[in-house]
Symmetry: C2
Subunit: 315 residues, 2 copies
DNA sequence: TTAATAATTGCACAAATGTGTCTAAAAAGG
DNA sequence: CCTTTTTAGACACATTTGTGCAATTATTAA
């Protein structure tokens, strides 16, 4: 590569990229054939005589998204950059905002949108300045919390979402975990529950959180579990839950007495939903998020950088 | 400009410029209309989210070339970067090389190429590794030096050029300045000079140097001038010469006894040559180069950065 | 909230760019 | 110096990109 050639390539690149002339113009001016100019530009890029930089964009984050998508066969992955100095609350808020933005992006006028429990899901409400006005239906995917936790009711989430997006919402008037299979079956067999179940069959979008290990204290609904439940889950090596349904690290759903007493959309159901969006972050949740992904329940994951890195590194 | 929008633009720019995907692909992937992608890229460039840098290229030099071209109605201008630590010899060598490269670039198989005096012109010879093989004719545009300076004869330049480019050359067997108009007329009226004059009429390319003030010592041919010549030129405020013809700072050609005794192509002749290339540098020559440009004799100038800057600043 | 203002979509068409192939010319190497 | 290997020219054609415009949809401000 001659020095004059480098200079010529640089000049052509300058005229094209900086001055914005067309290749034809440059060709005429320099008495070089147009197609040659085209090839010269290729070469100039190859040899890094032309350098294109993009601000406000982290290619590593993008690559991480791509890898996640590929590894777990996802339709989409959204990774929020991790701010090293932020506390957990701020990190969760950032995730909530990203989730809200994504919902706004994908929602269509007459969609049916399901929500499960989740601190981050609850945080989504109120994050949007000008939500798209729709006529969508918002439906809980699980039962509610214990009476002492009523302000965090999943019904509250769908109600607020409906208000924001101009649609309407359905309620579940029962706690997520009942005392016996008999009662549970009674509730979900009752007439008023038909509409919920019907909606579960025709979800367009489902937003679900992912719960971490049992030892974690942050759950809003697990006070419904009995000591015996906890004991059993521990024995069967539960590492987390999604829609109030527990599974182990291999992604095996832990059916049994507890699941028989639980009011929630059956997890395999989620696979048929066009947009199943999991929203979760934090290092303690890495195993449960990974297991969920392995189960193939989700086709979109919204998480943060540090969590995503751990998920990929754990492979 | 929203933060999310910036990020979106950055992502689109990344996919397009770095990953090399087409706008259609990006549109499909992000569910955005293709033309919107096109407009997003425009915006990303405008807002400097995308930055394109070009190495080995000095935009200032380029702008200087453009300004020179525009100011003096030139077809071309070539400016060699000035190396602050180079001495005059090195600077002249760099200019010679650029001139040689340019000749190689524009010469065509059967061209007639004229050369005048000039240290830089003389330096052109031997600068090319693989000169284009032509069948061109090389012809002197002026007479030779005094006998004491015979190794710098203009005939030597054309002879060497012809050897390099595979063509042939014509000679002038007379000094540039004769003792009287009578002798001069005799020489240029002689039969053997017909061919030269004929060639002067059909030049395709002319390379000419530009001489600086009389006080300057670097000239190779001015020892032919008499004391009286010098006195007269001083009175008439000569600031330089081109092809052994002097002019003042306004570009007025100083006709008279001296010019009547000079064997050289008449300067106005140069205007009809398709490529008239002036090659000169140094700060002392700025006034004479400027005057030459104002006369409109040249359509191409090859000089260096420091000289070019002075020429433009002097305006 | 509504009205005004701005931005995006969707489309048709024009312009610009890229690529394969062949020929001609130029560098490189012996 | 001649031969081999690279590079550029020239062209046809396919692909990609840009632009004006009308209709729609967001966003802002009152």
């Amino acid at each position: 590569m001659d020095d004059n050639r480098r200079h010529l390539l640089a000049k052509v690149a300058y005229l094209y990229y900086i001055q914005g002339r067309t290749q034809s113009q440059i060709a005429t001016e320099l008495n070089i054939y147009r197609t040659t100019i085209s090839r010269m530009l290729q070469q100039a890029r190859q040899q890094h005589i032309v350098t294109i930089q993009i601000e406000d964009f982290n290619p590593q984050l993008f690559n991480l998204e791509e890898k996640l998508k590929q590894r777990f066969n996802l339709k989409n992955a959204i990774i929020v950059p991790s701010d090293r100095v932020a506390n957990n609350q701020q990190k969760n808020a950032a995730l909530s905002k990203a989730a809200a933005l994504y919902l706004k992006q994908i929602i269509k006028p007459h969609d049916t949108v399901g929500f499960a429990w989740g601190l981050v899901l609850a945080g989504m409400v109120g994050q949007l300045q000008h939500p798209t006005q729709t006529d969508a239906t918002f439906v809980p995917l699980v039962g509610g919390p214990s009476p002492s936790n009523s302000q965090y009711h999943v019904n509250g989430i769908v109600y607020d979402a409906a208000r924001q997006f101009g649609g309407h919402s359905l309620f579940v008037d029962a706690a997520a975990v009942q005392e016996s299979k008999l009662i549970r079956d009674g509730i979900i067999g009752a007439k008023y529950f038909y509409e919920i179940k019907r909606r579960w069959q025709q979800l367009d979008i489902a937003f679900v959180g992912i719960g971490g290990p049992l030892s974690s204290k942050s759950s809003r609904w697990r006070d419904l579990l009995t000591d015996q439940d906890r004991q059993l889950l521990k024995e069967r090596e539960a590492i987390g839950d999604c829609c109030c349904t527990f599974f182990d690290r291999h992604g095996k759903i832990l059916n049994g007495d507890l699941s028989d007493r639980t009011i929630a959309i059956p997890l395999p159901h989620l696979q048929r939903v066009p947009n199943t969006v999991g929203v979760a972050r934090s290092l303690t949740k890495v195993p449960s998020i990974t297991a969920t992904l392995k189960m193939g329940l989700l086709n979109t994951l919204i998480t943060d950088e540090e969590t995503a890195k751990q998920i990929m590194d754990a492979q």
